[in-house]
């Protein structure tokens, strides 16, 4: 069972790789907002699709509801919590 922090570290790497952003994964904080023009990474709708596919491929977590997906992907902390629950149940 991976800790929340271990999942967060993996997710930061996944975000940088799948959305191809030139930032150091470790520089992303768990609470940092990832989407929108004011966010440092400024991820958008196309990045959200890419990231949800990458999460599904790696962890088997399907993100089907678009509003719920938006909420889950809004920060690394949210993603890690949902993933921890998903992995505990599977």
């Amino acid at each position: 069972m991976k800790s929340l922090e271990a999942l967060a570290v993996e997710l930061k790497q996944l975000i940088v790789e799948s959305c191809e952003r030139p930032v150091e994964p470790g520089s992303i904080t768990n609470e940092e907002l990832l989407f929108g023009p004011d966010a440092r990474l400024a991820l958008d709708s196309l990045d959200a699709l890419q990231l949800s596919m990458a999460i599904q491929k790696r962890y088997g977590l399907r993100l089907t509801d678009s509003k719920e997906t938006r909420r889950i992907l809004s920060s690394v902390g949210n993603m890690a919590q949902v993933l921890e629950t998903h992995l505990a149940a599977h």
Binding site: E20, S45, M53, Q56, K57, T64
Partner: protein, 360 residues
């Protein structure tokens, strides 16, 4: 009914990502065509960017390229987006888990593009193989002509993926060498990727677009009536929609993909409509590749970008006339300073489309 006009256009394809590069490529001949490995064979392919880039990065790069020519910031927010694509986001699905555990909704691409660009609170997607973007174009022209909207954005998207060319390769429809429209040695299609977009408006511009004539021919799963009768009927209808005298046509942009049988059907149709006195014929598939669902829009925009500099390009890929066809595309640029040009698309599965764009 009021007329519809094209006010802005953008294109990202194998021939280039800016109007100038596309124009220069078409003016000087063929684009730099890459090779795609499919089912243990390699085929020529019209890549718009580095083959190794992901679907996500190709899409973003293409959207960035066309956005700069569309002046999106001046689009009214109630102008709808109408999208045509044959493969939609299949490239993204391919890069995800395999076999796919979920399907992406058909409208996920138009929704993502509207959100990415921050435009258009309404969108519709059309997926009807090679006629996809022309169906989107038809809907947009109709919305403007009937007064339902003042402006509309039409986009055709076909991003490189593996499933689409694998299907064509399995049917032995791909050329191992190059696209050769109407050529004696034509031996199949060369596919390509593209994003093409036009802004349509009720406000007059230098380009009037007439409503496309659209039809489905159920002769076979892959082709059209061998005598060319259905292709001819659609061309005739497009000329009637535009009230264009065939003798006034500056040129016809052919489907002419380099398919041995489909090129012959199109020529038979041309002779039915025009007799032996054919207008100048041209194809851009050797420079762009066949961009499938985006092709109607991509090939039109390529010619608009040349037309804005008063010419239509020579047909790349043609060298030897086929005596059985007894028809050849133009081998030198043609002037297009005014007047109508007819556009043809013949789609897989029986789809047909023809329409007229008039330079004023």
């Amino acid at each position: 009914m009021r007329p519809a006009f094209i006010t802005h256009s953008g294109l990202w394809c194998a021939a280039g990502g800016t109007p100038k590069v596309v124009r220069d490529t078409l003016m000087c001949g063929q684009a730099a065509i890459g090779r795609l490995d499919i089912l243990g064979q390699t085929f020529p392919y019209g890549f718009a960017t580095e083959p190794s880039k992901s679907f996500h990065n190709r899409l973003k790069e293409g959207l960035r390229a066309v956005a700069s020519d569309l002046v999106l910031e001046s689009m009214p927010t109630d102008a709808p987006l109408l999208l045509g694509s044959s493969s939609l986001m299949i490239g993204l699905v391919e890069e995800g888990p395999w076999p796919p555990q979920q399907l992406l909704p058909t409208d996920s691409l138009d929704e993502s593009i509207r959100s990415h660009w921050g435009i258009a609170n309404r969108g519709w997607s059309f997926s009807s193989a090679c006629t996809s973007a022309v169906h989107a174009l038809d809907a947009a022209v109709g919305l403007i002509e009937t007064g339902a909207v003042e402006e509309a954005l039409v986009i055709g998207v076909e991003i490189c993926n593996r499933i689409t060319p694998a299907g064509f390769a399995a049917l032995q429809l791909l050329s191992p060498s190059a696209a050769r429209p109407l050529d004696l040695e034509r031996n199949g299609l060369m596919l390509g990727e593209a994003i093409a977009a036009v802004r349509l408006s009720a406000q007059p511009s230098g380009w009037r677009i007439h409503p496309p004539a659209l039809a489905l021919d159920a002769t076979s799963a892959t082709g059209h009536a061998p005598d060319g009768s259905t292709v001819a009927a659609v061309m005739q209808q497009a000329l009637e929609y535009a009230a264009t005298n065939p003798k006034e046509l500056r040129a016809i942009k052919l489907q002419a993909s380099g398919s041995p049988s489909a090129d012959a059907v199109e020529v038979r149709a041309l002779k039915t409509v025009f007799g032996n006195d054919l207008p100048p014929l041209l194809s851009v598939k050797a420079s762009l590749g066949h961009t499938l669902g985006a092709s109607g829009l991509a090939e039109m925009v390529a010619l608009l970008q040349c037309g804005s500099h008063d010419f239509l390009p020579a047909t790349a890929g043609f060298a030897l006339a086929d005596p059985e066809l007894n028809a050849a595309p133009n081998r030198a640029p043609i002037a297009w300073k005014s007047g109508p040009v007819l556009f043809n698309i013949q789609g897989f599965g029986g789809g047909l489309a023809s329409w007229v764009v008039e330079r004023r």
